[in-house]
């Protein structure tokens, strides 16, 4: 191989490597460095303080509350989102007649920007003029002030998040379901399996690669949720919707505690990595690739 040919792969990789280095790798390293420093607001002065930022975090009740909120938000978004989207996808897969129209309908929220979607939900959740409370009133139920009540705010934000992500999940599940040969379901039917047994023993195992991918993406998206929280509740009421990401945003861009926010970013990165590693470990036993 001549010199020119040996340089070609590097030349082709260069644009991607340059973009990743500037926008991903360099900021990540900077965050890690900053997490061990005390950075003076609005200046370039910073001092190495070791693990002090991490100590502050671990001793902060607000941070622990945001961790609790993030955990609740994770459960309230990922599990319902997976269950509902899988149910809808299975229904659409079994009823091709509905597929085209409903697929577009469910995909629509994905195409809307998260700020626009959040504005829609502000209208829906409005305690006096909102659609939700109007319909509850019709049913004789007095609806709460969804976004201002500490008991319902996180649920309300979670519902809007699930609604927004449903279409994305449905598309992947539909693609996964359509890749399962119909003959396998017929063979199971002849083997004596009923609808649930076919789903449990044939469809679900063969859908597991898709289920795994969608669940990893959902967990990461949920842990990184920001836009809808910022517009719907700005982390309130009483910190009940302040997730780790929202706490980080406030420390970095409201309180200008860059060092502390960087340590939060490092902790969040570690948490996402742990969550994804656990998912990959589980996947080794449960996911069937062809």
């Amino acid at each position: 191989m001549n010199r020119r040919a040996s340089l070609l792969p590097w030349g082709l990789l260069f644009p991607t490597m340059a973009i990743l280095s500037i926008f991903v790798i360099y900021p990540a390293i900077q965050s890690l460095i900053l997490s061990f420093q005390d950075v003076e607001p609005l200046s370039k002065r910073s001092f190495f303080i070791g693990f002090e930022n991490y100590e502050v975090l671990l001793k902060s009740p607000d941070y622990w509350q945001s961790a609790r909120v993030t955990g609740s938000f994770l459960l309230l978004t990922v599990i319902p989102s997976l269950v509902i989207s899988l149910t809808i996808a299975v229904f659409l897969d079994a009823n091709p007649f509905f597929q085209n129209g409903f697929r577009t309908l469910f995909l629509l929220p994905v195409a809307i920007s998260s700020s626009m979607a959040a504005m829609l939900w502000i209208f829906i959740y409005n305690p006096t003029a909102g659609f939700l409370n109007y319909f509850l009133d019709v049913l004789g139920i007095h609806g709460p002030n969804w976004l201002a009540d500490p008991d319902t705010a996180l649920i309300a934000v979670a519902i809007s998040t699930v609604w927004k992500e449903l279409g994305f999940n449905i598309i992947f599940f539909l693609a996964g379901l359509s890749a399962i040969p119909n003959e396998l379901k017929e063979a199971a039917e002849l083997d004596g399996a009923n609808g649930w047994q076919i789903f449990r023993n044939v469809t679900l195992p063969l859908l597991s690669p898709t289920l795994f991918f969608v669940s990893v993406v959902s967990v990461i998206n949920s842990l990184q949720s920001f836009g809808q929280i910022h517009i719907l509740t700005t982390g309130g009421p009483m910190g009940e919707t302040t997730t780790l990401v929202y706490n980080l945003y406030r420390d970095a861009f409201v309180k200008f505690r860059t060092g502390l926010a960087s340590s939060e970013a490092v902790v969040l990165f570690t948490l996402i990595m742990i969550a994804t590693t656990i998912q990959f470990r589980l996947a080794k036993k449960r996911v069937h690739y062809g």
């Binding site: 017929e186 039917e189 002849l190 047994q197």
Partner: protein, 340 residues
């Protein structure tokens, strides 16, 4: 393994998909223990008929009975049938053992009995070494054996085969065909086998049902269909290479009776050196040597004929040669394709 037998009675079964009628009042009786092959070109409705016996499709009208019991509305699992699919339809996430035992577990068969049946089927089909493997680790032939084993362990009353060998290479297809034949002789199970390959049909069947455009053209033993085809379609479909057909001027030379639209004779009754009746001279367009025999393709007065020739004394491509036939072995058909 146990002996599983049931009769199957298909009476005036029609099937429509929307406006399209794919089966037109098909009736067929299959005796206990009989091996019946449904053969016909693609789209003739043979797989649809098989799927209706399995319960995977509902007939638009007519009845299907298994063991004298109408099963039109009986779900597939309760019909006592097992099916071997064209693409094997093995569960890719399960081991061979789990594939074989899945149906038995669903039927709550006792574990020792499941193990016994799986072991027996694995021994019969030579799968003992592969029981812990997943289908992805098996060859095409092994997958097909697992598919057959899955049908066997259920001890069904009727075996259904939907083009089970069409995904295998030619050599393996011949081997598996022999195995299916051995298996049938051993189990004496009632079997319905769908194929578009007439060689498979001829070698496996007790009786062949030839289908065309949603209808049964003729049902009979392989030899009966070969020696006594009732329609031009059956005559052309059964036998390799296909029967030669002549029309027009050549009909006078073979003194065809009145009303004949076409006459047919098999390649083995078409001769190049000598014979009873000469059809005149034709041009050799292709020679297909197969070892001990060769097929000589000849163009003669607008007709395309094939002669089966023994030995190696073949004519050159492009040369002219006189063609003879044995007029006692000619079949005559009317303009509707019916035998006269």
């Amino acid at each position: 393994m146990g002996v599983y037998m049931a009769s199957v009675e298909i009476q005036k079964v029609r099937k429509c998909f929307g406006e399209t009628e794919v089966l037109k009042e098909v009736s067929l009786s299959i005796r206990e223990g009989e091996f019946v092959v449904l053969v016909g070109p693609s789209g003739c409705g043979k797989s649809t008929l098989l799927r209706m016996v399995a319960g995977l499709e509902l007939p638009t009208s007519g009845t299907i009975s298994i063991d004298s019991k109408v099963v039109n509305t009986v779900p597939p699992k309760s019909r006592g049938v097992a099916m071997v699919f064209q693409n094997y339809a093995l569960y890719p996430h399960m081991t061979v053992r789990d594939n074989l035992s899945f149906g038995l577990k669903l039927a709550h068969v006792a574990i020792p009995e499941i193990e016994k049946r799986v072991k027996e089927a694995a021994e019969v089909l030579g799968l003992v070494k592969h029981l812990e493997k997943k289908p992805g680790q098996l060859s095409g032939g092994q997958k097909q054996r697992v598919a057959m084993g899955r049908a066997m362990v259920r001890q069904p009353k009727v075996f259904l085969f939907d083009e089970p060998l069409s995904n295998l290479d030619a050599q393996l297809r011949v081997k598996m065909r022999t195995e299916i034949s051995h298996l049938h002789r051993r189990l004496h199970a009632t079997s319905i086998y769908v194929t578009h390959d007439q060689v498979e049909a001829m070698t496996l069947a007790d009786r062949i049902a030839v289908m065309n455009q949603g209808q049964l053209e003729q049902v009979g033993s392989p030899l009966e269909l070969y020696q006594n085809p009732r329609t031009r379609f059956v005559a052309s479909f059964i036998g390799t290479p296909s029967m030669n057909f002549v029309e027009g001027e050549l009909l006078y030379l073979i003194k065809a009776p009145h009303g004949v639209a076409s006459a047919g004779f098999r390649p083995e009754n078409t001769f190049l050196k000598q014979g009873k009746v000469s059809l005149g001279e034709g041009q050799v367009v292709l020679v297909e040597p197969l070892g001990s025999i060769a097929y000589i393709h000849i163009s003669l007065k607008g007709n395309y004929l094939v002669s089966e020739m023994k030995g190696h004394d073949w004519p050159e491509i492009g040369s002219t040669t006189e063609v003879f036939i044995d007029d006692s072995k000619v079949f005559y058909f009317d303009s509707q394709g019916k035998r006269i």
